[in-house]
Symmetry: C2
Subunit: 309 residues, 2 copies
């Protein structure tokens, strides 16, 4: 049997044709046409699927279905209420795609779907209770319980970036509220922490407060830069405490850390684990930490996994 994994982004749709065991037979991209309320997106995907089935001479009877990750909250029955960058308002994505393709479809939030991909073939392999944390421009997340995505009532399960860390924070998170984990642990959050630290730091540092990036901070940490280490400690304290809270609620076996910030490598764990252990409930202390392994392909893997029997 075969299946398709589709990851819809704001500019391109990543697509993969998989065998049941996770082997990738084909992998390609098509543009995301967001004009006209995004009305062409699903027909474009259906057309690409037809073409690949023809090209590989695969009959629809041999296909389990099409899994799709969408950058928006998605309910368990595949309904999207609102998107910020696809043009869609309320849309019954699963139903429309099933009608367009004649195949079973399952739809999930892109961060949740990526988490499932990392569980299946990436850094979380072998675990059925897993939390993925994506440290990019924002902080994304996905909670996997007993091998399934925790979707939640509104499709907003696993929004780790928006747990409350600093109720008295004065700057605003992208989501509109204040004090979210994302404001301290994303790439942009690390820059914020860096600017604050560098404004008061009085020693020597190779970091430039005007141009500093999250990558600069961890590169400087590796060179022993004191200011960078202070920034990394602050980042690690927020994220470690945040994950202690996540553990108290969903008690995962492993955290898989992905996104641009995770390119710093295992040195991240040096800053996260101490604060985590300090605030973790006794039953949660043996959790593992791993780096994500699938990069930008996590989405198509997880999407494919959703429709496997």
């Amino acid at each position: 049997m075969y299946c398709f994994g589709v990851d819809i982004g704001g500019t391109t749709v990543k697509m993969g044709l998989f065998k049941e065991d996770g082997t990738v037979l084909d992998k390609w991209e098509i543009p995301t046409r967001t004009e006209d309320g995004g009305s062409a997106i699903l027909p474009d995907i259906a057309k690409a699927i037809e073409e690949k089935l023809n090209a590989h001479q695969i009959d629809k009877k041999e296909v389990c279905g099409v899994g799709v990750g969408v950058p928006a909250p998605v309910t368990d029955d595949g309904v999207v209420k609102q998107t910020t960058n696809l043009g869609w308002g309320y849309k019954q994505v699963r139903q429309e795609l099933e009608e367009l393709t004649g195949l079973l479809a399952k739809i999930g939030n892109d961060a949740n779907v990526a988490a499932l991909g990392e569980m299946w073939k990436g850094g979380g392999q072998g675990n059925k209770n897993m939390v993925m944390v994506t440290l990019g421009t924002g902080v994304g997340g996905g909670v996997i319980i007993n091998g399934k995505i925790l979707t939640g009532t509104n499709g907003a399960g696993g929004e780790i970036g928006h747990i409350v860390m600093e109720p008295d924070e004065t700057e605003r998170c992208g989501c509109g509220k204040t004090g979210c984990l994302e404001q301290y642990a994303s790439a942009t959050g690390i820059v914020r922490l860096a600017k604050r630290q560098l404004a008061k730091f009085e020693g020597e540092t190779i970091l430039d407060a005007e141009t500093v990036t999250a990558k600069d901070v961890f590169d400087a940490v590796k060179q022993g830069d004191t200011a960078a280490i202070l920034i990394a400690e602050e980042f690690g304290t927020y994220l470690g405490h945040g994950l202690a809270t996540v553990s108290a609620l969903v008690d995962p076996a492993i955290y898989v850390i992905g996104g641009g910030v995770s390119k710093a490598g295992e040195i991240l764990f040096d800053y996260i684990k101490g604060p985590y252990m300090d605030k973790a409930f006794f039953a949660n202390k043996e959790v593992k930490f791993a780096l994500a392994e699938l990069g930008n392909d996590a989405g198509i893997y997880g999407a494919a996994k959703m429709v496997l029997p």
Copy 2:
């Protein structure tokens, strides 16, 4: 078909004989014999079950099974690693009880099981994604996702009392760490907040800092006592922000609030909802709040529900 619901506490074991539709045919208690490493507890339960089957002339073939709530983390396969007040160390509770009774058994953490009970026949009826928060001596919790208990890897899912609220707190929680939600939102936490507030409060109040209880605080709130209102606001801010974090992770449709503190009634929600809305992720704002309805029987209801087909 019939089933048994059992709720093991430190001094008594509550037991119920249920019909599949939730009708209670019989309800009784036996003492919890914690001596000798609690070795008599499961045999006592098995004996009580046999007696009730005889008394009601029910054949074992007509029984779905025995559900049990235990005051300890319990894994999905019914294993307890450690208890603080039953005398048990590592114990394969499910397997032992199945051998003793010849019936299917399922074991869960007591707070999680009570949450399932409230979903089935209490304040959470009609919802399949629900979080129960028990405000008693401590803060207990249970997360129900798609109608099932979120158990977690170590049986420690739903430990809402131990999410991180104040990393810099100097006093210790019962769990050994500092800054847990339980330190601000339990009955004892409210007394702590009250003592701190009354030490600095300079107006008139009917509260006595020496003897104040959580009940006194909410009784005084209902009489318009300013100091009591300040304490209730502080309590509500911690709990509201804590639940905003819970929502970002598990996105429930409803919170069911139980435990001794919940006897204050719906006035609690006046203090929780504002801070919740202030810090809730946009997709989580329509959550409902309800009071628990089953009191001390939530455990036997939830235990029974676990073994229903």
